[in-house]
Every structure is written in structure tokens, then in C-alpha cells.
Homo-oligomer: 265 residues x 2
DNA sequence: TTGCTCCTCACGTCACGTGAGGTGGC
DNA sequence: TTGCTCCTCACGTCACGTGAGGTGGC
């Protein structure tokens, strides 16, 4: 009835989409095939351009084409309701991107990508007391995995970790463990180190109980994973764990006494 | 060397990705294939989970996997530089979505999707002076297309349109044109209407020149399109345009005197 | 006449999703 | 033993992009 004046390229340009996209919308049934001229060219009307603009607006807002097709057929009330929904989606998407922006922007250091700021600060403190870079990196990796599981508890845990580091004996223990990385598995110094560990653990277990009383904290598998990671960096740790078991303690990442449970280093 | 303890499902869960995604990252070379256990199952380490978390963080920020692969191999400096770029992309994407949100949210009426607020207000005013809904819709469609081409000029143009509507003779003309939609092509009332049109055009052309002095405004094709659209709603317009030509004027959407040019209704 | 646009297949891309058919672990 | 997880193909999806090979318009 209404004869179209625009070629597909002109219509596409006016609507700000590609020629291929217009053909795709025909295929998907979003836009009716228009009349053809004498040479078989499609000829478009202003209505077609308006429809293309609608498709583009909704499409760029993230609405799937199948949904766009429904909306184009909907009456004004349905359409208005759908727009509310589209708006909610857009808001959620914007929030998601802003979170990622914060995650990416706040962390210029590659190794610390996706680590919360508190953890980054804690790792700096470990460097400060003399921990080697590989050990710091391993700590960082462990925290990165933990943070991905239970981000809410990170601030409290890190706060306790910082209080631990305020204790000189604890700092000393950390460095002593680092030295042990070069020891043989049957080095005699491991025995006294185990004694020392138990001693310090006893004095600190109460503080940890206060931090995380429920303590179903990390899943068993995750703890196994982090134990394995620790042993890979610090091979004599395997022997140390055995020595700790002789003294009534099990585990490492989530070191605990025979019955109760609480995490340490 | 380091033996993995996690199955693919466990690693995926800890990293917050799907099992299929992990296999896909192996295929794409983003994550090295880990050791297999006795039953041929892949076994993952903490390092693998950390890499998966990095891939996920970058991927969710919109970085293509090919780029993620590069970044995983980059040193800290390159990585930091790349993060700046990623952040810029995220900002651009957020702005884009916010614009769309404004476009979608501010316009609950389906017919007016993607129309600037000024135009919506102007259309309401047309309704107010007694224009029928189909005519208003056609006006809206025309403005939607125009707005998509030259959004910056819309406020000025609409302001002038509103000043036009302040003139009683102009409002009267609009309604008279609407009546004409039912007339025959050879209705005798078209002649005096053409005279009236010329008369009013003369009084207003100066104001329009002031609004848009450069006036390469709309492309010739777009004007043709809008003319065709106007004729389709108002068939006697074809005849009216002929009558106007006899009086020394050409066009409709971009009506002008033989030499100069300026737009009208 | 040259180059740009249009036409119709039809395969490619991106980041996985989703069975298909079979085996291993708790 | 049942169900959940793992394995490897391999095709499907979404919204087009990108030639391939040919014709029409200025």
C-alpha cells in the first residue's frame, strides 16, 4: 500500500544498524519483508525505520531478539510493563559492571587481581616482616580462593590475622617456618618447631574461636587444597604435620585439636 | 610436580565457573591441561583455581578470551597497563547502559520509545489542540527518525515548533489539514488551503531561518521519506504539493521557495 | 565504464550450552 | 546398587560478520 522509498542501506543508515542486521531481523521475523522494486531490491518506509530504531534501542539495552519480537507485538500496557523489567535488568547489569570496575581498577598489581583491599594490605605487612615473595604470593593465592567463597568474612579474618602479627612470637614463628622450607624432611629441627607451634597455637586459639564461633568456615575440600598448596611450597611441612599429629593436633590450614576445630597460619 | 587434589567440578565450583567453561579454557589455551589421576580424571591445584578466578574476573569485565590469554602471560607492568584499558572499557560500557536506561526508563509509552522528552511534550500539545491520534503518531515517528540522525538540534527545533503552535492561525491550519485527509484529490477546497498555506509560510519563514541558518539539516533522502510518509496518511497532500508548486514552492517536509530552503509542518 | 549497492546462499565467530554414549567413584 | 561425576566427541545457540558469486544503478 505505502510504497517504500529507501533501499536497505539507506534504511539501515537512518536506523544506525548494519545492512546484515536488517536482513537478520527479516529472517527472525522482527521486521516484515518489504515490497521489492523492479530490480528486486527491498524498499523501506518510515515505519520500517521506526521499527528498526525500536529494535535497536531494545537490542542495545540487552533484550534478546526473541523478546524484542514479543514486545513489538505487545500493546502499550504490556510494553510499559516490559520496559520496567528491561530497566531492572539494565540496573542490575550496570551494578555488575561497576563491581567489576572496582575489582579491576583498585588492583593495579597483576598477582593481586580479584583480591580485596584488606588482603592486599595484609600481604604488604607480610612482606614488611621479611617474608619472601614466593611465600607472600602463595598466601595471596590462598586468600584469593577463600575470598571468592566467603567474601563477607574476609574483613574479620584479616583483622584477626593482623592481631596475630602484632604478637612477636607469632611473627618469629612465621619466619622460622620460612627457613624450614630448605630443610630435609627428617631435619631434627622440625621436632622443636612442632613443640613451638603447639605452644603458640594454645595461646591464640581462644582469639580465633571468638572470631569465628560457628566455624564451618571452609569446606573440607578447600582445606585439603590449601594444605596441598602449602606442602608444595614447603615440603618439610608434610613431616611437620605428622609431628603435630603426635602432639594431638590435626591439619594445617584448619589446624585443630582432636575434637574442636579452628584455623591457623 | 604439584599434585592436584580437585576434580574439575570442585575446581569449577571454587572458581565460580561451569565445568564446560573450564574445558573450554583448556581448548583455548587459557589454562594448561592438568595431570590426570588413575581413572583419567583431571586433577586441579590451587594455582589452577587462581588462574580460573583471574579468567573469570577479566571475562566478566568484558575482556575477550584471546585478550585474557595474552594478559595471563603478561608481566606485571603490561598487566597493569592493560587493566587501565579494561577499566576504560568498563566505564564506556557503563555509560552506554546508563544512556539506554535513561532512554528506556523515561519513556513508558511504547509508541514513544527512543523519543526525547521535548518531543513527547510537543506531541502531547498536538493532542491538546485536537489532533487525532494517528496524526500524532505519524508526527512522533517522523521525530523519532529525525532525533536518531541529529539529536543535538532537536531541542531548538522543538522550541520553534512550540512557538509555531503559539500562533492561532498556525494551529487552525494544522486542524484544517487534518480535515483534508478525508477530501478527494480534486476537492475544490484544496486551492484556498494552498493559498492559506503560502500566506502563513511567508509570515513564519523568518523565524525558521533564525533557528537553523546553515540548514543542510536533513538529508534529501530523509526528506523524501518523510514526504512519502505524510502523503500515505494524508493522500490529498499529493495534490496540495502540486498546488504549492504552482505558487512557487517545492516540497513539504522541507518546504521552500524556488531557491532558498527551510522546513515547515 | 568503474565502483558502489544490492541480491542470495552459506560458512564463520564468540563463549560456551547441551545432549549422546559410555565409564568411574562413593 | 543407584545416582552423581567424570570422559570425549560433536552439534546447537545467539546475533550477526564475512566472503562467494552474481546482478543492478548512477
Amino acid at each position: 500500500m505505502i510504497e517504500g522509498v529507501l533501499t536497505i542501506g539507506e534504511a539501515a543508515r537512518l536506523a544506525g544498524v548494519t545492512v546484515r542486521a536488517v536482513r537478520h531481523y527479516h529472517q527472525r521475523g522482527l521486521l516484515a519483508e518489504p515490497e521489492r522494486d523492479a530490480s528486486g531490491y527491498r524498499r523501506y518506509t518510515a515505519d520500517d525505520v521506526v521499527t528498526l530504531l525500536r529494535i535497536r534501542t531494545l537490542g542495545e539495552a540487552g533484550v534478546p531478539l526473541a523478546r524484542v519480537a514479543e514486545l513489538l507485538r505487545a500493546d502499550d500496557d504490556e510494553f510499559a510493563a516490559a520496559l520496567t523489567e528491561v530497566d531492572a535488568q539494565l540496573r542490575a547489569e550496570i551494578r555488575r559492571l561497576q563491581k567489576h570496575r572496582a575489582a579491576v581498577a583498585a588492583l593495579p598489581r597483576g598477582a593481586e587481581l580479584a583480591l580485596p583491599a584488606e588482603v592486599v594490605a595484609y600481604l604488604d605487612r607480610l612482606r614488611g616482616i621479611g617474608l619472601r615473595e614466593d611465600a607472600v604470593r602463595m598466601e595471596g593465592d590462598a586468600w584469593m580462593i577463600i575470598a571468592a567463597q566467603i567474601p563477607d568474612r574476609i574483613p574479620v579474618w584479616i583483622a584477626q590475622k593482623n592481631r596475630d602479627l602484632d604478637v612477636p612470637e607469632f611473627r618469629e614463628l612465621y619466619l622460622r617456618l620460612q627457613e624450614a622450607s630448605d630443610w630435609d624432611v627428617d631435619d631434627p629441627r622440625l621436632e622443636p618447631l612442632a613443640d613451638r607451634l603447639v605452644e603458640i597455637f594454645e595461646t591464640m586459639t581462644e582469639a580465633w574461636d571468638a572470631v569465628d564461633p560457628t566455624s564451618d568456615g571452609l569446606s573440607r575440600r578447600l582445606v585439603q587444597l590449601l594444605d596441598a598448596q602449602a606442602v608444595s611450597l614447603l615440603p618439610p611441612l608434610a613431616r611437620l604435620v605428622v609431628l603435630l599429629e603426635e602432639r594431638g593436633y590435626t591439619g594445617w590450614t584448619d589446624m585443630s585439636r582432636a575434637d574442636d576445630s579452628q584455623s591457623a597460619p
